[in-house]
């Protein structure tokens, strides 16, 4: 389960996703797009949660910030999708910087409660400033214009299938970036903060700055996922910012395995696929989903990836490097 196998497994996953994009019907393309968006949200979130051990309940607000920033730009000024994504990511990062500045001074339950409080404030702002955000209706009518390269040639995004390939490229780039991050000096420092934050200060590391950096990076990925959703749905919803939405990356990370680089990705697939299946049989999907979650969390410590790596003889929590190398 060392590095090479991780890369191979990831390339295999990309090949499957590519096949879905080429051959699957509209419904499966839509569901797979949602899975990829949740993967981006959760893998970014895991930079904070899995690496530094900080549990945030406020990342839905960065998700919504990305979506609303893209929507406002798209509705009032420029429709360029790439520029929209960039603005979405930067706005989310800026919001994360401001909120994170106040939150990273605290840890554990105080940190979690502060992020929850900020998240509720953002939700209520979006809900109440109707003139800008559309209140409970959200913003709609977002245009998915083609990506234009200086007028030379254009890549259309009009259909969900065309848009799917943009999402796929963004996903591959995100994973590549996050993997580099995990294996960099910065990534090691974050692991050290999770392991022993007190000792970290005695290694001459200003841990608040690193916590804040991890917070902003995870917020930026939340914003990326959010702005992609705004493009996918051509609309935003205030519930993107709801605190219950902040729980989603936590859930999928716990399902997939918090100690594993690919855990959030695996968790996203299981979470959305299960939900889709259960919803067909019963309206009370939350009840059944809760039962399945209980089984996974109590029975599979370390998530699905943790069990997987135990079966294949690896130790899910060996070291910073080993830890990234699990698929």
């Amino acid at each position: 389960m060392r590095g090479r196998w991780g890369v191979i497994a990831f390339l295999a996953w990309l090949a499957i996703l590519l096949a879905v994009g080429l051959f699957a019907g509209r419904f499966y393309i839509y569901i797979t797009t949602r899975i990829i968006l949740l993967s981006i949200f959760a893998m970014g979130y895991n930079v904070l949660f899995g690496r530094t051990g900080l549990l945030s309940f406020g990342h839905a607000s960065f998700y919504a910030m990305g979506a609303y920033a893209l929507a406002l730009l798209n509705l009032h000024a420029i429709q360029s999708p790439l520029l929209g994504l960039l603005v979405g990511v930067l706005s989310a990062a800026l919001l994360a910087l401001i909120i994170g500045f106040f939150c990273v001074r605290h840890t554990e339950i105080y940190f979690a409660m502060l992020t929850l409080a900020f998240g509720m404030m953002v939700f209520s702002l979006i809900w109440n400033i109707r003139s800008v955000t559309g209140g409970d209706d959200g913003l709609y009518g977002i245009m998915r214009e083609p990506i234009s390269f200086f007028g030379l040639f254009e890549i259309p995004l009009g259909t969900d299938r065309q848009f799917y390939f943009l999402v796929l490229v963004v996903f591959a780039a995100s994973v590549w970036f996050l993997r580099r991050l995990a294996r960099s000096p910065f990534g090691l420092i974050l692991s050290g903060i999770r392991e022993n934050d007190q000792r970290m200060e005695f290694a001459a590391v200003n841990i608040k700055n690193y916590r804040l950096a991890a917070f902003v990076i995870s917020g930026a990925f939340a914003g990326l996922a959010g702005s992609l959703e705004a493009l996918l749905e051509s609309a935003t919803s205030p519930f993107m910012a709801h605190w219950s939405h902040s729980a989603e990356p936590i859930l999928v990370t716990l399902i997939g395995g918090v100690g594993s680089f690919a855990g959030p990705l695996v968790g996203s697939v299981i979470f959305l696929a299960l939900r889709e299946i259960i919803e067909r049989f019963t309206e009370n999907w939350m009840l059944w989903f809760g039962v399945i979650l209980l089984i996974i969390i109590i029975g599979f410590r370390g998530g699905v990836m943790g069990v997987f790596s135990t079966l294949t003889g690896g130790d899910a929590r060996t070291s910073a490097q080993g830890h990234d190398d699990h698929v």
Partner: protein, 253 residues
């Protein structure tokens, strides 16, 4: 060799009614290997915690390399060259031994915030880590996860992490506690060698009198937050007050 590294002026700390540091005045000179001794509750650990920044002082000043660091945060003190190790094992349990030492090395070299470079590409840092591991004798277990080490090896790693920040002045809090005799000799030998090389000045907080008297150039005796003795080992051995409160029968034989 007589530059003053650290100076403490009228340092005080109380916990409720208990005074654990009472108007302490001390200075530590470069190259002078100092031991701080005293019975349990004498204020040794409190003193180290005050100097390293784990505890806030009630009054007084701490001056390191000519700068007032009384209220400086921990990471700043360490980056200035004031380090410490811990009495209890305080490492990064799920990281490898190599990574444990790599963290302070990266921080020292100013590379800790590089987020887009492969860790394996940091060759200079890697060499430095290997040198530290060699010094404390942990090269054979470099790729093991720290939590899997024996207690003695974890103690060595503890000191390795502290040394990796290249401190000018390093407080070692009971460095040989929990070590077997072989490890103990090794670590004391290292301290002596490093001390003679002169890059790091050591201050040792110790219970073991053999170590204190064989290793130190200077011994400071604390008792209930007061300094009751300060001088070369022979002078301390002969000091009547010290013998009464602390050494007791042990040196009288």
């Amino acid at each position: 060799m007589s530059d003053i590294l650290l100076q403490i002026e009228n340092l005080s700390k109380r916990f409720g009614m208990v005074c654990t540091a009472r108007e302490l005045n001390l200075s530590f000179q470069e190259g002078v290997l100092t031991s701080i001794i005293g019975p349990n509750g004498a204020g040794k650990s409190t003193l180290v915690n005050l100097l390293s920044g784990s505890l806030a002082v009630d009054s007084g000043r701490i001056i390191f390399l000519g700068r007032d660091i009384t209220r400086a945060p921990i990471y700043k003190r360490v980056s200035m060259g004031l380090g410490r190790s811990f009495q209890v094992v305080n490492v990064f349990p799920q990281l490898t031994v190599f990574e444990n030492v790599e963290i302070p090395v990266l921080a020292y070299e100013g590379k800790a915030s590089r987020f887009f470079r492969a860790l394996s590409g940091e060759e200079k840092a890697g060499e430095e880590v290997s040198a530290v591991l060699e010094m404390v004798g942990l090269t054979p277990v470099a790729d093991l996860v720290a939590s899997k080490l024996s207690h003695g090896d974890q103690r060595l790693l503890e000191i390795g992490i502290a040394l990796a920040s290249k401190p000018r002045l390093l407080f070692l809090d009971e460095p040989t506690a929990g070590m077997n005799p072989v490890e103990r000799v090794r670590i004391l030998q290292n301290i002596r060698t490093l001390s003679q090389r002169g890059k790091t000045t050591f201050v040792i907080i110790e219970h073991d009198m053999d170590i204190v008297f064989s290793l130190s150039d200077r011994v400071v005796v604390l008792h209930r937050g007061d300094i009751i003795g300060d001088g070369p080992p022979e002078e301390i051995k002969a000091n009547a007050e010290v013998r009464e409160v602390y050494l007791g029968e042990e040196v009288l034989e």
